[in-house]
């Protein structure tokens, strides 16, 4: 196991994070004592094959799921001991999401979808921020459209805009290109990277695609519920070796 600690401040930390489902003989260990520090202001990819626990790790880090044991700290706040409502309010304030599918509410327009998190939180809309985000993602002339009138790539861009507009401490993206063709994928990944570079966001992306991971600054490799590598600015070869090393 190679863990590379960075000098930048951490956006999220996991210590001895364990998550099991079911009990008795049918117990599934999705995460087995994960220790992880995610640096702020960087684009990190969490990679691993299906069933490796990468989605569970993301859900726990994002406060969508509750750890069985261990601690999760996001934006300096220990998520353990928060009840459902407190977790929800925390997510509202500090975390943004982009999912693989079902990302948008079908009955709201693109613009309404982007503003939804602010509305839920009852926060005032920062017009400048909104315009900036919409501009960066190139959605100016799509704002009045319903999701069904948008292409897959456009839908994901709306989802990214929605995640960014609240200026969260960390954005989690779960297989954001899973449903897209390669051209749209490149476009979406490029936007995610720009949001880190130009808007100073912290983005954590779960993916199983090597091409997608190539857009990231750092790559965390997870296998059978444990982190097996945390690479900073890896080259293609380094990445392949880290992944292959596990599957051997």
């Amino acid at each position: 196991m190679t863990t590379t600690l960075t000098q930048t401040p951490t956006a999220a930390t996991a210590r001895d994070l364990t998550r099991t489902y079911g009990d008795g003989d049918s117990t599934v260990h999705a995460l087995r004592g994960v220790d992880l520090d995610l640096p702020a202001g960087r684009f990190t990819a969490i990679m691993g094959p299906s069933g490796s626990g990468k989605s569970t790790l993301m859900h726990c880090l994002a406060g969508l799921d509750v750890a069985t044991a261990g601690t999760v700290t996001v934006a300096g706040r220990d998520l353990g001991g928060l009840d459902d409502t407190a977790l929800t309010l925390f997510r509202r304030e500090h975390i943004g999401f982009v999912f693989q599918a079902f990302n948008l509410l079908p009955m709201l327009t693109a613009g309404q979808n982007i503003l939804l998190p602010l509305e839920l939180a009852g926060r005032a809309v920062d017009r400048a921020r909104y315009d900036q985000v919409v501009g960066v993602l190139g959605l100016e002339d799509r704002l009045g459209h319903l999701p069904s009138q948008l292409s897959g790539g456009q839908q994901q861009r709306v989802a990214i805009a929605r995640a960014l507009v609240t200026q969260p401490d960390i954005v989690f993206a779960d297989e954001p290109t899973g449903n897209l063709d390669s051209e749209s994928s490149a476009e979406v990944l490029g936007h995610l990277r720009r949001s880190v570079r130009e808007l100073g966001m912290t983005v954590v992306m779960v993916t199983h695609e090597l091409d997608a991971a190539a857009y990231a600054d750092d790559v965390v490799v997870i296998h059978d519920g444990a982190v097996t590598a945390h690479l900073t600015d890896p080259g293609q070869d380094q990445l392949v070796a880290a992944l292959r090393g596990r599957s051997a």
Binding site: L64, D84, T88, F102, D174
Partner: protein, 804 residues
């Protein structure tokens, strides 16, 4: 395919619960109706043959004199015979009236014909003795050995109660007297048939115009006649069953439509692996059939249990009810209805579901998109129905034709239902906007209008119940207002104590006014007059204006006397004829005659009413001769009458008054209102199950979406609130439209049905009742989403995102 069918039924059992429940309620409703009418018929037809059990034949005739002659001749020649009819006469004891109109029938002196079921005492053995019905005796306080006066005027006679009997419903007389006593009441006697123990030839010889039939045939005909009456009631109950089933069809069809939409990918997958469209359709219909059969069987069991319980309960209060039993015909009919309703409801959704292309299974799962819009055909049909129905309703108002109104109303209502997918979402948006702009409310409004057709059907099922309930409540309230006005005119005085031949005590008015149930009392001065040798108190009502109801204040012009019909009947024929023909009557007080104009009327007791000035010309110092009482609203009629009778009895005066009649009419309207609302309530309950069902199934459908919202910061409470708001919006809009439509229909109904009898009949809206229905329906909609909302909120975001 059978394996697939069974597996899918097992898998989706819980989703079918609501649809099944709707069928169960509908079927149980049919079974309960069958059991109640069966028990009623059993009770009413029981012992119909008892009075003719002792004879072989029954002689029936339209000519009453023949019937009387038959019984008379039978007595002379010692032939066994019993009159099968009754007279309606007042009954009094010690000068206090016990009943204004009691049914008096014959009890034979021949023991072979004494069919009554004696509970106490003995049968009469001579004229002047009588049997009393045990229930009538209980309510009037008549005991064995009491001597009571039957009839009034010259036909009045006294009889001694020697026995108490339990009368069956079919021969429901309060009093039984021997023929010699019964024969006196030829004015009110109704005698269609005679039980005849002699030979048919003898009967034909005495009464050539009569028909002779065996007592068996007579009993059968009589039973059929009563059955027909019960059938009419059963038919009316079935109308409400039909309404409940109509609502059920909507609920079930909606359930199937939603379930099939959710299973579209399953269906497509089946098609991919080689299931033909026809096989798929058959499998789905078999699924509906299975649901229908199971629900119908459960419905019969539930109905039988509820029916048996109700019959036992009703028998407790109403002894004429028969025992509970299930008629296999009704049970079979209910079963068929349940299954057919389910299949019918599944028909259209099934067709739509099997149209799915095999490719649909292979497309990326973009979520269930069951968007549906109002088709153009539907809009045209809706417009035609609304215009056509509106025209028919206008025609019905113009011609006061009830059938045209019913057809017009139905067509118009169908138009509104067809317009639903357009109208309901628009209204929901409007109401949603009025409610405010918060994210929760916006979310609720957006969700509520996502699938216009589904929303419309859900709202329509509630709309039916609310519309009908509002219409019936308003219609009945309007009839009650109009009836009340009529009653005010027919019965201007609620209660009266009238002196017979000497003035009343001065404190009687105070005591009458202090009675519970008396709002006001007035003493009327008067004097004793004699008209054609009949002594009649003459009073002036000028001081009773606060007591008299109706448009007429009972203060006639000078020189006019208001004479009760009863008094005119007592007068010698010549004097009576003069009143009828010339409207004149000569009144004598203290030997002085004066001829007054007479106006026959009624409603205030046994006295003539004149103006104060006219009264003074007869008697310079009139004494209190009558006390008139006005009842408080809702006073107990029996109690008030009893209390007044006690006061009157002590004063040797007579008691009368219209309050019992008013209370009786009010009670009937109350019972009718209660029954109709109760029966329509079943349709509303089914509709609410439908709302809960639609919301519950939508929750399953939106699991992913709700998880997304929760991930983005929607709290559990907010999610629950959004679902509650969605349910409330649905039910509120249905209630709103239903109340408006109901009031409109009630207005038409009042124009058509009451307007034809009473001119310028107005609409009286029972604001509290209608408001109550609206509030209950809207709140019930809120209650209906408690379970779905809790279930939706319980799912953690992570689990929701993992759903497929």
């Amino acid at each position: 395919m059978r394996g697939v069918l069974l597996a899918s039924l097992r898998h989706h059992t819980r989703r079918y619960v609501a649809a099944g429940l709707a069928v169960v309620i509908g079927v149980a409703f049919v079974v309960v109706t069958g059991m109640l009418t069966g028990a009623t018929r059993e009770g009413l037809t029981a012992d119909v043959g008892a009075p003719v059990a002792g004879v072989d034949h029954v002689v029936s005739t339209d000519d009453q004199s023949e019937a009387v002659k038959l019984v008379d001749t039978a007595q002379e020649r010692d032939v066994p015979a019993l009159s099968l009819g009754y007279a309606m006469e007042p009954v009094a004891r010690d000068g206090v009236q016990l009943a204004p109109y009691a049914n008096v029938s014959e009890v034979a002196l021949d023991p072979a014909l004494q069919w009554q079921d004696l509970t106490e005492g003995r049968f009469p053995d001579a004229p002047g003795q009588a049997l009393a019905d045990v229930n009538a005796a209980k309510s009037t306080g008549v005991r064995l050995g009491d001597v009571i006066t039957v009839g009034s005027g010259d036909v009045a006679t006294e009889v001694e109660v020697v026995g108490l009997v339990d009368s069956p419903a079919a021969a429901n007389a309060s009093l039984y007297v021997p023929w010699t006593d019964l024969e006196r009441f030829d004015d009110t006697l109704w005698l269609p048939s005679v039980a005849w123990g002699g030979s048919p030839d003898l009967a034909r010889e005495i009464a050539p115009g009569a028909t002779v039939e065996t007592s068996y045939d007579w009993t059968a005909a009589k039973q059929a006649e009563i059955s027909q009456g019960v059938d009419v009631i059963a038919l009316m109950a079935l109308m409400f069953v039909f309404i409940a089933l109509f609502v059920s069809v909507m609920v079930i069809a909606n359930t199937f439509a939603i379930l099939f939409a959710q299973r579209q990918r399953d269906f497509a997958l089946l098609r991919c692996v080689g299931v033909t469209r026809r096989q798929l359709r058959r499998a789905i219909r078999l699924e509906a059939l299975a649901l229908g059969v199971v629900a119908a069987v459960v419905g019969i069991v539930v109905g039988a249990a509820v029916g048996a319980g109700l019959v036992v309960l009703v028998r407790h209060w109403f002894s004429d009810m028969g025992p509970a039993a299930i008629d296999p015909l009704w049970a079979g009919g209910a079963f068929v209805v349940g299954v057919v309703v389910t299949l019918l409801a599944a028909w259209l959704p099934t067709r739509a579901a099997t149209k799915v292309a095999p490719l649909a299974a292979l497309r990326p799962d973009t979520g269930v998109d069951v968007r549906s819009a109002a088709g153009r055909v539907r809009l045209v049909l809706a417009a035609l129905s609304l215009v056509g129905g509106g025209l028919l309703l206008a025609v019905s108002v113009a011609t006061t034709s009830v059938p045209v109104m019913l057809v017009g109303g139905t067509v118009f209502f169908v138009g509104v239902l067809l317009l639903g997918p357009l109208l309901v979402p628009a209204l929901i948006r409007l109401v949603g906007r009025l409610a405010g702009r918060g994210p929760v409310r916006q979310l609720a409004t957006g969700n509520a209008v996502r699938n216009p057709r589904r929303t419309a059907t859900t709202a329509a099922s509630l709309l039916v119940g609310v519309t009908l309930t509002t219409a019936v409540l308003t219609g009945l309230a309007s009839s009650r207002t109009e009836l009340g006005r009529e009653m005010d005119d027919s019965y201007p005085v609620d209660g009266s104590i009238t002196a017979v031949d000497s003035p009343l005590a001065d404190d009687l008015v105070t005591r009458a006014g202090a009675l519970p149930g008396a709002a006001d009392a007035a003493a009327l001065d008067g004097t004793v007059a004699s008209i054609g040798k009949v002594e009649v108190p003459l009073v002036s009502a000028e001081r009773a204006s606060g007591v008299v109801r109706g448009r007429d204040d009972l203060v006639p012009a000078d020189g006019v006397v208001l004479l009760p019909y009863d008094v005119i009947m007592e007068l010698p024929r010549k004097v009576g004829d003069r009143v009828w023909d010339d409207r004149e009557v000569t009144v004598t007080v203290d030997g002085r005659d004066r001829t007054l104009k007479a106006e026959p009327s009624s409603g205030w007791g046994r006295s003539g009413v004149v103006s104060a000035a006219t009264l003074t010309t007869f008697d310079a110092s009139p004494q209190p001769m009558a006390v008139w009482v006005r009842a408080t609203d809702g006073a107990d009629a029996e109690d008030l009458r009893g209390d007044l009778a006690a006061l009157a009895g002590a004063a040797g005066a007579s008691v009368d008054g219209g309050y019992s009649n008013r209370a009786w009419v009010d009670l009937q309207v109350d019972i009718l209102t209660g029954a109709v609302v109760g029966l329509l309530g079943i349709a509303i309950v089914i509709a609410l199950i439908g709302i809960a069902n639609t919301l519950g199934l939508s929750v399953l459908e939106r699991g992913r979406e709700n998880a997304l919202l929760r991930a983005m910061g929607l709290t559990r409470t907010q999610l629950r609130r959004a679902m509650a708001a969605e349910g409330l919006l649905l039910s509120a809009v249905a209630t709103l439209v239903g109340t408006a439509l109901g009031l409109f229909f009630a207005w038409i109904g009042v124009r058509v049905m009451i307007g034809s009898v009473i001119e310028d009949a107005g609409l009286s809206v029972p604001v509290l009742q209608v408001g109550g229905v609206a509030v209950v329906a809207a709140l019930a909609g809120l209650a209906a989403c408690v379970v779905p909302a809790r279930r939706a909120a319980r799912v953690t975001p992570a689990a929701g995102l993992a759903l497929d």
